[in-house]
């Protein structure tokens, strides 16, 4: 079977092709799709691409960030305005992977991949979908709950800039400096008068898709970020998680270490690079 490659200058046309062509799959960086093609995945008959400039656009204003779904981890690392996201982007693969891996691709990456998507979840991101009846916007967690259904094309993601120093991230791996996640934790911890107000916590590799730790978020509301203050959140750290066994770690291990790393993250104890 020959594969057809179709490249579209406009994203909307790529979206149409994705829903109309048989066995169509959208190719961004290639780390997922090309692997499947190399393995003769029979479900891929048409590769759809786009050269639309908006797809790789980074727009940062005082209040808001919008990232084209084709923006690579390397492009994020090159953008000084996004320095709070650098620890996340740097933790995705090695240098060559970062030149290819995209924001959009990460949204579809199966667990234990998808740490950037987990970070976006903690940033309360929304997802812009192309095609169909114009653009549609939906919250990221809603998108993640139905990402396996049907052919959708993400055109960009958007979120409000977090307060400076309010965003924290840790990726727990066995291989340093980069490796597949045992788990990752992203947290947005805005404070008012030293007390947490409106926390967002998201986990990677603690379920089939990145997941919000809503019980832990509620338990942190109004608390100080010290041992006593974070204890209630740690007690409900596992709520909403459904980790599984894979080659990297067992579900049991992931559950065991989650509260330890959450505690260190909330108390600001993680060393800069390693976990």
């Amino acid at each position: 079977m020959t594969i057809n490659v179709k490249t579209f200058p406009r994203l909307a046309d790529a979206a149409s092709a994705l829903s109309q062509e048989r066995g169509a799959r959208f190719l961004a960086g290639g780390t997922l799709v090309m692997r499947a093609v190399n393995e003769a995945d029979p479900s891929i008959e048409t590769i759809v691409r786009s050269t639309d400039p908006s797809f790789v656009n980074i727009s940062v204003s005082s209040g808001r960030v919008e990232l084209g779904a084709g923006v690579t981890m390397a492009a994020i690392l090159a953008e000084r305005e996004l320095s709070f996201l650098h620890p996340v982007a740097r933790a995705v693969g090695g240098p060559a992977v970062r030149e290819a891996a995209t924001v959009g691709g990460n949204l579809f990456a199966p667990s234990p991949y998808g740490d950037f998507a987990a970070a976006l979840l903690a940033l309360d991101a929304t997802v812009m979908l192309a095609g169909g009846v114009g653009q549609r916007e939906l919250p990221l967690d809603e998108f993640l709950s139905r990402r396996d259904r049907g052919a959708v094309l993400v055109s960009s993601v958007a979120f409000k800039r977090p307060a400076s120093d309010a965003f924290r991230f840790v990726k727990v791996t066995r291989v340093h400096p980069k490796g597949i996640s045992v788990l990752s934790i992203s947290a947005q911890l805005p404070t008012a008068s030293g007390r947490v107000s409106g926390a967002r916590i998201a986990y990677g590799a603690m379920g089939p898709a990145p997941v919000r730790a809503k019980a832990a978020e509620r338990a942190l509301e109004g608390r100080t970020l010290d041992s006593a203050g974070v204890a209630p959140a740690l007690a409900v750290a596992h709520d909403g998680t459904a980790p599984h066994d894979d080659a990297i770690a067992s579900a049991w291990w992931r559950r065991e270490i989650l509260p330890i790393h959450l505690r260190r993250l909330l108390l600001g104890e993680h060393p800069p690079r390693h976990s």
């Binding site: 020959t2 594969i3 057809n4 490659v5 190719l27 290639g30 780390t31 090309m34 692997r35 093609v37 190399n38 393995e39 891929i44 590769i47 691409r49 390397a74 693969g93 090695g94 240098p95 060559a96 992977v97 030149e99 290819a100 400096p177 980069k178």
Partner: protein
């Protein structure tokens, strides 16, 4: 239906026809005849197939070949200048930074990508530059030392 593509390989224009979905690794080895690029996994996980595209490290096994049309690709075959080895190649030899040699082409390209952008890397920079390349033989230390040596010798030459 094959697609014609033309790109610059190690400074020379090359052209070939590719099947839909062909990856750059197989295109370089099978169609263009550059056997200096090696394949370890065809999954984008080992780094063996690392090449430079427009100066940036990329995994050729998960790169769609036709996206290279009009771009510049560098492989190990293009490292040496005639009889002279690239400083990285000499440094790898002196530091015994290869045993089976299979990861070496990918390592050299990853290291070149680093030194071309950062001629004075720290050890941590080097570790990060090669962290996507698996070596099963050397334990990485000789490779890290070789890259640092090459950086130092390069800077001495330019000084």
């Amino acid at each position: 239906m094959k697609t014609p593509i033309q790109f610059r390989l190690n400074g020379e224009e090359v052209a070939t026809f590719v099947e839909g979905g062909a990856n750059l690794l197989d295109t370089l080895r099978e169609s263009v005849g550059d056997l200096s690029v090696k394949g370890g996994c065809w999954q984008g996980t080992c780094g063996t197939c690392t090449v430079l595209i427009d100066g940036v490290p990329r995994l050729s096994c998960v790169t769609l070949a036709e996206t290279c049309a009009g771009h510049s690709v560098e492989t190990v075959a293009g490292l040496r200048r005639g009889a002279d080895l690239h400083p990285l190649q000499s440094a790898f030899m002196e530091r015994f930074a290869a045993q089976c040699g299979y990861c070496t082409p990918g390592m050299l390209m990853a290291a070149k990508a680093l030194l071309d952008k950062n001629p004075n890397p720290t050890r941590e920079n080097v570790v990060d530059a090669i962290c996507g390349n698996i070596c099963r033989c050397t334990g990485y230390e000789p490779i890290i030392n070789a890259v640092l040596d090459a950086a130092r010798s390069d800077s001495r030459r330019r000084a």
